[in-house]
Amino acid sequence: MGSIGRAFVVLATAACLVGLTACGSGNDGTTLTLYNAQHQDLMRTMVDAFTKQTGIKVELRRGGDPELANQIVQEGDNSPADVFVTENSPAMTLVDRAGGFRHLDQATLDQVPDQYVPGTGNWVGFAARSTVFIHNRGKVTKDELPASIMDLAGPEWKGKVGVAAAGADFQAIVSAVLAVKGEDATATWLAGLKRNAKIYANNIAAMRAVNAGEVPAAVIYHYYWYQDQAESGEDSRNVDLHFFGHRDPGAFVSVSGAGVLAASDHPTEAQRLVNFLTSEAGQKTLVDSGALEYAVSAKVPTNPALTPLAKLDPPAIDVSTLNGPKVVELMQEADLL
Amino acid sequence: MTALTVTGVAKRFGTTAALVAVDLHVPDGSVTAVLGPSGCGKTTLLRLVAGFGDPDGGTIDFGPERVFGPGRSLPAQRRRVGYVPQEGALFPHVDVAANIGFGLPRAERRSARRAGELLELVGLDAGLAHRFPHQLSGGQQQRVALARALAPRPSLVLLDEPFSSLDAALRLGTARAVVDALRAGGTTALLVTHDQNEALSLADQVAVMSAGRIAQVGAPQDVYAAPANPTVAAFVGAAAFVPAVVTACTAACDLGELTVPPGSPQGEARLLVRPEQIRLLPPADGDPDHDGTTDHDGTADHDRTTDHDGVGGRVVEVRYFGHDATVELRLDRSGLAVTARVSGDSLPRPGARVRLSVAGPVTAFPPG
C-alpha cells in the first residue's frame, strides 16, 4: 500500500513538472506581449503591419481598460507585458501614476500633436473617438434631443436611455463629466442615471437595443454606428446620431493610449511598436482598417465618412487628469456597479 | 505441503488487543478449523499468517521456514499461501479460467489444462471455464475461489469464513466438496469459521478462540465432549449448566446423581449437560399422564426414585425438526429449565408431565 502511495506522489509531481515545462511564457526574445484593451481586430491589423515591417512578433492579451491597467499595476515588476494599449486615457493615467511606464522616445512624442500627449511624456494617444448620443428615429423626435449629457439624469429620461455602465468607454465619459463638472454634480448625475438608465453589456448591445426600439436612446462612441453603417446597417438602420458639441462633457473626445511598460524585458522593440502605432504608416493602417476611429497624426487625413474632429467642439480636458478609480468609486456609490 | 506453527503471536489495533499471545500448531496435511464468535480475533490471526499484516510479536513458521519473527517478515506474495476469502472475491473483470490462472506464471496461464484440472478437483464442470464470476452461483464462486487458491500449489491454504455467505442448502455440499479437494491434495489448511457445525464436521483439529486467545485445541470429539471451560462448552454446542455438589466421581444435582470423570473438581460445581444426554423416560405407573394436576410432589419420594426412574418435569415447548426434535422442560424440583434432544417420533405434548434421566458422564466445572 505504501508503494501505491509513493506512486501517487511520483505521478502527481511528474504531472506538475510536465505542466510547468509546457507553459512557455511566450517571451523568447523576439515576441512582444501587448496588453490590448483596444478592439482586437484593429490591433491585430496594426501589429500585423508592424510585424511585416520589423519582423518582431506580437502576442495580444485582451481585456478591458481598467482591468488590464489594474492588472499591470498589481503585476508590478513581474508583469509579462511590454506594451499597453487602451481605448481610453484614464487607464493610461492609472498606470502612469503607479510608475508603470517608461519614458517614450522623443521621436515618438514628436509624431503626435500635443493635445494627445500627457505632461509626463510616458504615453501617447494613437487614436481618438467621440462620445455620441444615439436615438431611435421613431422614438425620439428632434425637439426631444437633450442639449447636454447632464440632462439624461432628469425624470423625462426615466427608462429611456441605455448605457454600458461596466464598460471602460462609458466610465471614460463619466470621467469627463467629473473633470468638467466636479465631484458633487457627477454624483448627482450618476444617481439620476441609476434611476433612468437601462444597463447593457457594451456599446454594440446598447446600439442594437436602440435599433430594435427596446430603449429609445443610448450614449456610446461614434464608430460603432459608422462601422455598422459601413457593413450592413442591420443594427443601426433606425438609429440617428446626435453630437452634443458646445464643449459639453457629452462631446468628450476620448483618447486611446499606447505606452511601454517599465517592466518590459524588450524595451527597444516595445518603443519601436509604439513609434509605429503613431507613425504615418501606422496611422494610415488605422484609417484603412475600417475601425473608423479618428487618427491622431496631423499627416494622415481623417476618413471622409466621419464628421471631422474639429467640428465636434469637445470640452478642453487634459488627457492626463481623467481619474478612473474615482469614477469607479462614484459609480459604486451610485450602485451602477 | 507443510505444517504451520504460530508461537506467541500478539496484535493490537490502537488500544484494542486483537490477539494475545496465540500459540497454534497445524500439522502437515491436516485441516484445522479456528472457531470463535465475531470479534474474537480469528480473522486477524489468519491475515497475519497470510502476511497481510505484521504481528506485534511472536513467530510464524511454515514447516522449517520462519516467515515472521524478530527482524524477518516475508511479504504476502512470497509466502505461497492460498487464500480463500469470504464470498470468494473472484476478480470480476476476468473469466473463471483467468481467475484460476491468475497466480500462475505467464506460460502456464495460457494453457487451459491447469484450469481444467482444478475445476475437476473442486467438482465443477470444465464448461464453466469461460463464464464470468457474476454468471456463477454462490457455491460455484466459492469453489472457483478455492481452485484459484490451489492453482499455484501453495504450501498452505487459508479459508476465511468461506461458506458463511451461502444459503443452508448450498453450504453443506460446497463445504464438503472444498474439504474433499483439500484432502485429495494433502493440503494443509486453516479454516476460520464461527459455525460450530462446520468446524466440527469438516476439520481434523478444532481451535476454539475467544477474546484474542486460543482457548482449546483438539480433535472435534474432544473439544465437544471435554471442553476446557464453560465458554468453549457453550460455543461448540448447546449446553445447560446445572449447579451440583461433586463427591469423588458422583455429582448430585437437580437431575439426580450423575457420573463425572475422575479428577473432576470437588465440592460445589457446575455440570455441563448436552441436550442429547437427556433422555425422556416412558411415563411411570400411577403418574397422572395428561391431566396437569397441580403440584403435590413429595420431595423425598422423588429423591428416592431418582436412580431408577429419573426426575419429574413438565414439558414447556416442543420444536420439531423432522430428523429430530428438542423438548424444553422445567424440572419439578427447582424449576430449572433444560432442553432435551429426542428423536422425532412419539413426542410429548406441551404441558405433559414426564420423567427424565441423563446418559453417560458429564463434565464438571468449578462454580462460576
Partner: protein, 510 residues
C-alpha cells in the same frame, strides 16, 4: 472487529499526498478568508452594505429558488413520464431529454438571445437556466425511479390507490433525495453561472464580480462580493452534504429485478407528449436551429478555419490536461477515503469538496493574486489554468474515482498477493482494470466541464491562449452572433459524444 477492509494506520506517502491535495483545494477559500480579514470591517461595510448588493442578493435568490423549483418540477415530471408510464417512444424521449446536458447554458442562452431580446430579464433568465439545467434533476430522478422496487407501487395499488395517488404518496417520498440533490446541484450551477446571465442582462453576484473585475481588476469590491457568493454557496453545499448523508440510508438495494407495470396515461398521453415535445423544442430545438442559422450566416461572412482549429485544439488539450490533473489529485484522496475509512480520510475528502462552494470566478480571482504574490513563475501560465481547473472540478473527479475504487475491494489485492503477485503487478492486473471505467468517467466529466469553462479561463489563460469558450464569448460580447456560431457548434460537438457515453453508462449501471 474484522479488519478486512482497512489497514491500521495511514501510509505516510499517501497521507502526505492527500494533505497536499487538500491544501491546494483549499487555497481559494484561504484566500477569500484572508482577503476579508485584511480588507477590514470599515471597507467591507462600505462595499457590502449598499443597495447594489441588496439588488444582487434579491436577483440571485430569485433566480436560484425559481431555477431550482422549476428544474425540480420539470425534471421529476419528465422522469416519471419516461420511466413509469406507457408513453410512446420512451427510449427516444430519454435521449432527447438528457441531451440538453451537452449544451452549455451560455450556448442555450445564445441560441435564444440571438433570436429575440424578449428573453432578457428575470423571466427569460429563469426559462433559459431551467431549460439548460433541468437534466441535473431529470437524470438522478430517472435513475432512482428505475431502481425503485415496483412491489411498493403494486402494494399501494392493491390498497386501492390510483396511479396519481400512488405517485404522490409512495413514489414521490422515495424520490425526495434525488430531487433535492439534483435541485441543489442546479442551485450551485446557477450561483456560478456567468455567460448565460450576462447575455440575458440579469445581474447576479457572479456577473457583478466579473463587472467589478473589468472595472478594477482584482479589487476589494470584487473580492467582497465573492465572499458573499461563497457564503451563499456554502449554505447550499452544507445542505447538500447533509442530504447526501441521509440519501445513503434511503437507497434500497441495487435495484429491482423486475420493471414496474407502467402507469396507463389514457387521455393524458396527448398533453404529456405535447409537454415533453415543448420542452425538447425549447431546450434543444430553438438553440440548435438558431445555432445552425447563425452558422450559415457566419460561414457566409467569414469562416476562420485556422482560429477554429487552434481554439478547438487548445480547448481539447486543456480539457485533457485538466481531466488528467483532476483525476490524479482525486486518486489519493479517494483511495484514502475508501481504503482507510476514518476521520482523517473523511476530513480530507470533505475539504476537497469546498471547491463546490467556489464558483470559477472566485477560484480565478484567488489564483491571480496568489500566483502574482507568491509564485510569479506560474502567473499567466497554462499550469496555473490547469491547476484552477483541477481545483474547480476536483469534487466531481473525487466522486467518480471514489465510486470506482469502491469497485475494487482490498480483498482482491490480498488474494492477488497471496497468489504470489507483487504489489505493483497486483495494481496493474487487478486494481487498474477494475477502477479504469469509473476513473475514465470522472475524467470525461472534468473534460466536459473544462471545454465549456468560461470565467476562470477568461481571467487566467496565458496571453494568446484562446479556447472555444473565450472565442465564443468575445464574439458574443461584440454581438457578432454569426462569428460566435462555429465556436458554439464545436463546443456542442466536443461535448455531445462524452455526454452520450455518460448518460448511457448511467442507464446501464442501474
Amino acid at each position: 472487529m474484522r479488519r478486512a477492509g482497512s489497514r491500521p494506520g495511514y501510509p505516510r506517502p499517501l497521507l502526505l499526498a492527500c494533505v497536499l491535495v487538500a491544501l491546494l483545494a483549499a487555497v481559494p477559500l484561504f484566500f477569500v478568508i484572508g482577503y476579508t480579514i485584511s480588507t477590514g470591517w470599515t471597507e467591507a461595510r462600505r462595499l457590502l452594505i449598499r443597495p447594489r448588493v441588496g439588488e444582487l442578493l434579491v436577483n440571485t435568490t430569485e433566480l436560484v429558488i425559481g431555477g431550482m423549483a422549476a428544474s425540480a418540477v420539470l425534471g421529476t415530471a419528465a422522469a416519471w413520464l419516461v420511466e413509469r408510464t406507457d408513453l410512446p417512444g420512451r427510449r427516444v424521449w430519454h435521449v432527447l431529454l438528457a441531451a440538453p446536458l451537452a449544451l452549455p447554458a451560455f450556448v442555450v442562452s445564445y441560441g435564444w438571445v440571438s433570436l429575440t431580446s424578449a428573453v432578457e430579464g428575470y423571466r427569460g433568465a429563469l426559462l433559459i437556466v431551467t431549460l439548460a439545467y433541468y437534466p441535473l434533476v431529470y437524470l438522478p430522478v430517472g435513475a432512482t425511479l428505475r431502481g425503485l422496487d415496483p412491489a411498493l407501487e403494486e402494494s399501494a395499488r392493491s390498497l386501492g390507490l390510483g396511479p396519481w395517488r400512488t405517485f404522490a404518496r409512495v413514489v414521490l417520498p422515495q424520490l425526495r433525495p434525488a430531487v433535492l440533490g439534483g435541485s441543489l446541484l442546479v442551485g450551485l450551477h446557477l450561483l456560478a453561472e456567468f455567460g448565460a446571465l450576462q447575455m440575458l442582462r440579469f445581474p447576479t453576484f457572479t456577473t457583478a464580480i466579473y463587472d467589478q473585475y473589468l472595472s478594477s481588476f482584482n479589487s476589494p469590491a470584487a473580492n467582497m462580493l465573492a465572499v458573499v457568493l461563497v457564503l451563499y454557496c456554502g449554505v447550499l453545499v452544507v445542505t447538500e452534504l447533509g442530504l447526501r448523508g441521509r440519501h445513503r440510508y434511503a437507497r434500497l438495494g441495487s435495484g429491482a429485478s423486475r420493471t414496474a407495470q407502467p402507469a396507463r396515461l389514457g387521455w393524458f398521453a396527448a398533453p404529456a407528449l405535447a409537454g415533453l415535445g415543448a420542452v425538447v423544442v425549447l431546450a434543444l430545438g430553438v438553440p440548435l436551429v438558431n445555432l445552425v442559422r447563425w452558422l450559415v450566416v457566419g460561414a457566409s461572412t467569414a469562416f476562420p478555419a485556422a482560429d477554429l482549429a487552434t481554439a478547438t485544439a487548445t480547448a481539447a488539450g486543456l480539457g485533457l490536461a485538466g481531466a488528467l490533473c483532476a483525476v490524479l489529485l482525486a486518486l489519493p484522496v479517494a483511495w484514502l477515503a475508501v481504503r482507510h475509512p476514518g476521520r482523517i480520510g473523511m476530513l480530507i475528502e470533505r475539504s476537497t469538496f469546498t471547491a463546490n462552494a467556489l464558483p470559477g470566478i472566485v477560484v480565478a480571482l484567488a489564483l491571480v493574486t496568489v500566483s502574482l504574490e507568491i509564485v510569479p513563475a506560474v502567473y499567466q501560465t497554462t499550469t496555473l489554468l490547469i491547476v484552477a481547473y483541477a481545483i474547480m472540478f476536483l469534487p466531481r473527479a473525487t466522486v467518480a474515482v471514489r465510486n470506482a475504487i469502491a469497485q475494487a475491494p482490498p480483498v482482491l489485492d490480498d488474494v492477488a498477493h497471496s497468489l504470489g503477485i507483487r504489489p505493483v503487478q497486483a495494481w496493474r492486473r487487478v486494481t487498474l482494470p477494475l477502477i479504469a471505467p469509473g476513473v475514465g468517467a470522472g475524467a470525461i466529466l472534468v473534460f466536459l466541464a473544462v471545454v465549456t469553462e468560461l470565467t476562470a479561463t477568461l481571467l487566467l489563460s496565458p496571453t494568446g491562449t484562446e479556447t472555444l469558450a473565450t472565442e465564443f464569448w468575445s464574439n458574443v460580447r461584440d454581438v457578432d452572433y454569426g462569428a460566435a456560431a462555429p465556436y458554439a457548434g464545436l463546443m456542442v460537438l466536443l461535448s455531445a459524444p462524452a455526454t452520450f457515453l455518460l448518460t448511457r453508462s448511467a442507464r446501464r449501471g442501474s
